[in-house]
């Protein structure tokens, strides 16, 4: 009889190292680089370094040393941001992708905390956490074997364990976001989180402030529907806890991926809140199968 440890080892190997296609890995590389570039170039992080020292006076020295961020270094930060953009372009195009992934991951670790650093020592939920984890994983895999312009191009292996695990890593990371979001609601608030009154109160809170918002009426309307609010709470919890099932069931992805998009659209319309890790849902798509289908259709059309 196999020991528990052996079974665990077997499961671990199968989960991470099942042979996979180079195209899915390349798609993950492109999604990661494009998302990181989109977020990075939609902010002006170096400018925060140039703020007067009074703004920086409450930033602990440990936070500054942790990220190697110091006030008054705007020119240096601009240089580092340019390097990060260059490295991410390398990742996107597949030029020296592994080196570029590693450099970009280190630079994002340094740059991302600039956004909230004046009051918070962690830039979580600001769009660069998932790219950082993904880039570090991609730096250890042959992510430039296809869909790349690299002049050191190598012919891709048919299926290899080397292509699968980084995609798995991103999928697991994304699942952890949803799982721990649900878990923390359960631990911090309890079952009362999903009650109609709690949902209604938050709908009102997000729509009563003085700041002008793009969507106001949907949230106020929903706040006046207690039964619907109750269902919104329960459905949110089910989706967040259920998201992890996509790691094992490709069939469930057909249901859960659209449901997740609807979930976030609903949050945007009723609370004016967005999340920037949404593009990473694309790593749950089987791009290899999609590519084959397109090629087969093209071949059939040519034969006809």
């Amino acid at each position: 009889m196999k020991s528990v440890l052996q079974l665990w080892g077997q499961w671990w190997e199968q989960f991470w190292f099942t042979p996979a296609s180079a195209r899915n890995l390349a798609a993950a590389r492109i999604v990661t680089a494009a998302t990181a570039l989109w977020v990075l170039l939609s902010r002006d992080l170096p400018a925060i370094s140039g703020f007067p020292l009074a703004f920086w006076s409450r930033v602990p020295w440990t936070t500054q040393w942790r990220y190697l961020i110091f006030p008054g270094q705007e020119t240096l930060e601009r240089l580092l941001q340019s390097l990060a953009v260059l490295a991410l372009c390398g990742v996107l195009l597949g030029c020296w992708p592994r080196l570029c992934c590693f450099v970009a991951a280190l630079l994002l670790y340094h740059l991302a905390p600039l956004e909230p650093i004046l009051w918070l020592n962690t830039p979580y939920l600001r769009g660069l956490d998932t790219p950082l984890i993904a880039l570090m994983g991609l730096s250890l895999a042959p992510c430039g074997d296809v869909w790349a312009v690299s002049w050191r191009h190598r012919p891709p292996r048919a299926l290899s364990w080397r292509y699968g695990w980084p995609v798995r890593l991103i999928q697991v990371h994304l699942s952890a976001i949803y799982f721990f979001a649900a878990y923390s609601k359960l631990v911090d608030v309890g079952l009362g989180w999903a009650t109609a009154s709690n949902m209604q109160a938050w709908m009102l809170a997000f729509n009563q402030g003085f700041e002008a918002k793009p969507f106001l009426q949907p949230g106020l309307w929903l706040a006046a529907q207690p039964l619907l609010c109750q269902w919104v709470g329960i459905a949110s919890w089910l989706l967040e806890f259920g998201f992890i099932a996509m790691l094992w069931s490709t069939r469930l992805r057909w249901l859960l991926l659209p449901a997740t998009l609807v979930f976030h659209l609903g949050i945007l319309l009723t609370m004016n809140i967005t999340v920037l890790y949404l593009p990473f849902l694309l790593v749950f798509v089987n791009w290899d199968a999609f590519w084959q289908a397109v090629r087969n259709r093209g071949a059939s059309a040519a034969n006809a």
């Binding site: 989109w38 170039l41 703020f51 602990p60 004046l118 009051w119 020592n121 730096s139 979001a181 809170a205």
Partner: protein, 223 residues
């Protein structure tokens, strides 16, 4: 970070979290670099990857289960709150030469988001020395007046959309622009700022929108 604890306690907890997180990150990078090196040498590559994956999983699980931030390993404590009155929100209002108050377009604060700026002010503004508060007031008023001048000159406001236009990566909390043309701002420069703390109960305000407790927490006036 819990800003409601005593200041010394709060600072110690941040410093501890910084130290542990930094060590975790350095360990992660070293393990990744070692795996890459082993792969390059063509030996024990899978072993290095296994260690990298195990480390990443353990760090992520530790952050999630313990509810502690070890960024880039996060706890993902998203919206895990029970509503408790009162809601608190800061509001910055610009004062014109006639003493009238005006709401400020959120793009004025870019590269900061209004959420970051307001939260920073809520937690730290009162702890600054009067000279530091003066510098902050002056800087913010300069930002407001520079933005007003751009709107009057029919120029673009904000920096976040400079590359991607309306398709730029949105902030966590989305706002609408309110300074769209010269008619939305006063004809002369602002002369001061009023920073208010608003508190309200959502249910009371639902019944009566005017049911808000407003306190002036800081006022800046051009010398």
């Amino acid at each position: 970070m819990n800003h409601h604890s005593a200041p010394g306690e709060w600072l110690t907890s941040i410093m501890k979290s910084d130290l542990v997180s930094a060590l975790l990150f350095v360990g992660w990078v070293v393990i990744a670099a070692r795996a890459a090196w082993q792969d390059r040498q063509g030996r024990q590559c899978r072993r290095g990857i296994r260690l990298f994956l195990a480390y990443t999983m353990l760090a992520s699980l530790a952050a999630g289960v313990s509810h502690r931030e070890f960024w880039p390993f996060s706890r993902w404590q998203i919206f895990a709150y029970r509503y408790q009155a009162p809601i608190q929100a800061l509001q910055v209002r610009a004062v014109d030469a006639w003493g009238r108050e005006h709401d400020v377009d959120r793009r004025v604060w870019e590269p900061l988001s209004s959420l970051d700026l307001h939260t920073w002010m809520l937690h730290h503004l009162s702890a600054l020395s009067s000279e530091q508060q003066e510098v902050v007031g002056q800087s913010l008023l300069q930002m407001v007046n520079a933005a007003r001048a751009r709107v009057v000159a029919n120029q673009h406001l904000g920096v976040f959309d400079r590359f991607f236009g309306p398709l730029y990566a949105p902030l966590h909390v989305v706002h609408s622009p309110i300074w769209r043309s010269a008619a939305d701002v006063p004809p002369t420069a602002f002369t001061g700022l009023h920073i208010y703390l608003d508190r309200w109960d959502v249910w009371e305000r639902f019944r009566n929108p005017a049911h808000i407790q407003r306190t002036l927490v800081y006022a800046y006036r051009l010398p």
